[in-house]
């Protein structure tokens, strides 16, 4: 490994990257597009509390309530109620048991189930129990003994309600990082197909020097752009160190993927053909943040899920190292595996 040679190669790679018009246009238009989308998204949350109610017995006061900030809609079954909460139609779902009347008449405590969205704030969870008791009081004219059980559907993200534009942060970060896959894959595949790598390898440059330089260029480009955009949209205000580490691992993951793609691709068109399906897969996890509950647990097999989830938790909920270390560990594992596989396959092409 020769630091001097590596620095020359990095400077060459960066210079070439910024001369590729197609890549620059894609990156630049992408950045502007993401920022425009971010800033046109609502910056505040809808303060009306949407509540779904499943009640097999008639409780007119629940549905006829005209309290400011409460919108209660009846739902036909408990399963439908859960689904509606999961897909974000309601912040909370209230399920009244069938035997509510019998239990009350026999002095037993009926169990009322409350279903919450993953990111429902604790204040709402606390308030809902009070609301249920208050509504029951309005219905019967007397305080009633209830057991209220709370269930979080999906992942619990206790905190404040997140404005839609802030939900976009992980999506933007991953978009920026993953877009670099295109540029870097093209740079490497050209180096192989145009045999410029061969020209480098008859100088004192080694294959290791080339790989280190490509890694530095790829990770650097993706990381710097992601950090910049996160800073512009306020994504670094909370837990900046965690965000930086996640973005760095994400950039390394993207570089590893680029190595794999460039081992297969022959020109820019085949880079596009290989990159887009992979980009789409890697971007899917960010929709779990945009649309909580829309995608189920299988998304966790996608490596980028752990980047998205960490950025979301840290940037939007202020989650600390204790909350995200498992995510970061898994992300590191995926990144190391993909990076190693990329280098192993690509190295054979260089040799």
């Amino acid at each position: 490994m020769n630091i001097h040679i590596i620095s020359i190669l990095v400077s060459k790679d960066l210079s070439l990257f910024f001369r590729k018009r197609a890549i620059i246009i894609l990156t630049f238009v992408g950045l502007i597009f993401y920022l425009v989308i971010y800033f046109v998204m609502p910056s505040s949350v809808d303060e009306n509390l949407k509540i779904g109610l499943y009640s097999p017995v008639s409780l007119p006061v629940f549905t006829q309530i005209d309290e400011e900030g409460l919108e209660i809609s009846p739902v036909e079954s408990e399963e439908m109620l859960k689904e509606a909460v999961l897909d974000g139609s309601y912040v909370v779902g209230i399920s009244i048991p069938v035997d509510v009347a019998e239990k009350l008449s026999s002095n037993q405590k009926p169990r009322v189930n409350l279903y919450f969205t993953p990111d429902a704030p604790q204040e709402i969870k606390d308030a809902m129990e009070v609301v249920v008791r208050e509504l029951a009081y309005m219905q019967t004219g007397q305080p009633l003994a209830f057991d209220v059980s709370e269930e979080i559907l999906g992942q619990d993200m206790t905190g404040t309600l997140i404005p839609p534009r802030d939900r976009l942060r992980p999506l933007l970060a991953i978009f920026i990082i993953m877009m670099e896959i295109l540029g870097l894959s093209n740079l490497i595949s050209e180096e192989i197909e145009r045999r410029t790598a061969q020209a480098l390898l008859v100088t004192p440059t080694t294959v290791t020097d080339i790989f280190i330089a490509k890694s530095i260029s790829g990770i650097g480009l993706a990381f710097v752009q992601a950090v910049l955009i996160m800073a512009i949209i306020g994504g670094m205000n909370r837990q900046p160190l965690i965000i930086l580490v996640s973005l760095l691992l994400g950039a390394a993951l993207a570089t590893g993927v680029s190595f794999l793609i460039s081992a297969r691709a022959r020109d820019f068109m085949s880079v596009l053909a290989w990159s887009f399906p992979i980009l789409i897969i890697l971007i899917i996890p960010s929709f779990t943040v945009m649309f909580p509950g829309a995608i189920t647990g299988w998304v966790k097999i996608i490596p980028s899920y752990y980047l998205v989830d960490t950025v979301h938790r840290a940037a939007n909920f202020g989650s600390g190292w204790g909350d995200v270390w498992v995510n970061l560990l898994i992300l590191f594992g995926f990144t190391a595996a993909i990076f190693w596989a990329g280098i192993y396959i690509l190295r054979r092409k260089f040799q």
Partner: protein, 288 residues
């Protein structure tokens, strides 16, 4: 210090079952130009790749400047220059940027790309991107890049293939200048005229083996047939060719008879070309 710049000892390389280089042995003296001739697929480029440390031989040793290439590949690379058969320049960079990049990789501090560009006839085009160059210009730049580090051994793989005479001549001049500087030149080519003109010795490679290695003159004397070739007008007014073999007992009589009995229009000597000799040795042409 070894007298030989290049020593190949029993070099062998296989692509699967195909033996591309088959136990070849040769030595190239310092300051010598060796023409390495052979048809496509003969194993020339594979040999260059082994000698320049890009491939490891299956067996045998390549020794450059007294160093075993396999064991000293980094040291060897400092002292060699390679011009590849196919253009492999950074096309989105300018010629000056290309040359400066390689000069920096070789650790050369005081380097003036324009001096090299003048030598290969690319003066005034140094700041243009290589993608705007013609094939001949790119090839000249490739040659310029291969001598950035003033190599002790210069490997040129088909440097003039498909080029116009001007570009070819510019490259020939560079080869001669490099030899005058003291460099050893390993030149692979299809062009027997080029090899004949530039090489101190030529090597014929066929199907992975070296089938002949000597000076062009010795090869011609050993394998060639000298002759006189004349065009005569027959009594019927037709133009016909006559050929008289030289170096035989009958030659003087045949020459006398030609001039006394025929109406000779033109006459000139005919020597065997390297192509003729290659065909004679291998039964196949250099260009197929």
């Amino acid at each position: 210090m070894s007298d030989y710049a290049i020593v190949a000892e029993d070099l062998t390389y296989c692509y699967g079952d195909l033996v591309a280089v088959d136990h070849i042995n040769f030595k190239v003296a310092r300051g010598e130009i060796l023409g390495f001739l052979g048809p496509n697929g003969a194993g020339k480029t594979t040999t260059i790749n082994i000698l320049t440390g890009q491939m490891k031989p299956k067996s045998g040793r390549a020794i450059l400047l007294g160093m075993d290439v396999a064991e000293n590949v980094k040291k060897v690379k400092v002292d060699i220059g390679v011009c590849f058969e196919t253009t492999n320049l950074y096309e989105q960079m300018t010629a000056i940027e290309n040359l400066n990049l390689f000069a920096r990789l070789f650790g050369i501090k005081s380097f003036d790309a324009n001096v090299l560009l003048n030598r290969v006839g690319l003066e005034g085009r140094g700041k243009d991107r290589v993608e705007t160059y013609s094939k001949g210009m790119k090839q000249r730049l490739m040659v310029a890049r291969s001598i950035v580090n003033q190599p002790q051994i210069l490997f040129l793989d088909e440097p003039t293939a498909g080029l116009d005479p001007t570009s070819s001549k510019a490259i020939h001049n560079i080869i001669i200048q490099e030899r005058e500087r003291g460099a050893t030149v390993f030149l692979t080519t299809h062009d027997m005229m080029e090899a004949d003109k530039l090489s101190d010795r030529v090597s014929f490679m066929n199907q992975g083996r070296i089938v002949a290695l000597d000076t062009p003159l010795n090869l011609k004397q050993q394998y060639g047939k000298r002759a006189l070739k004349a065009k005569v007008i027959t009594p019927g007014g037709k133009l016909e060719d006559r050929e008289i073999a030289l170096d035989t007992a009958e030659t003087p009589g045949s020459v006398k008879e030609l001039f006394s009995q025929e109406n000779v229009v033109t006459i000139h000597s005919k020597e065997a070309t390297l192509e003729d000799i290659f065909i004679k040795i291998t039964g196949r042409g250099l260009v197929e």
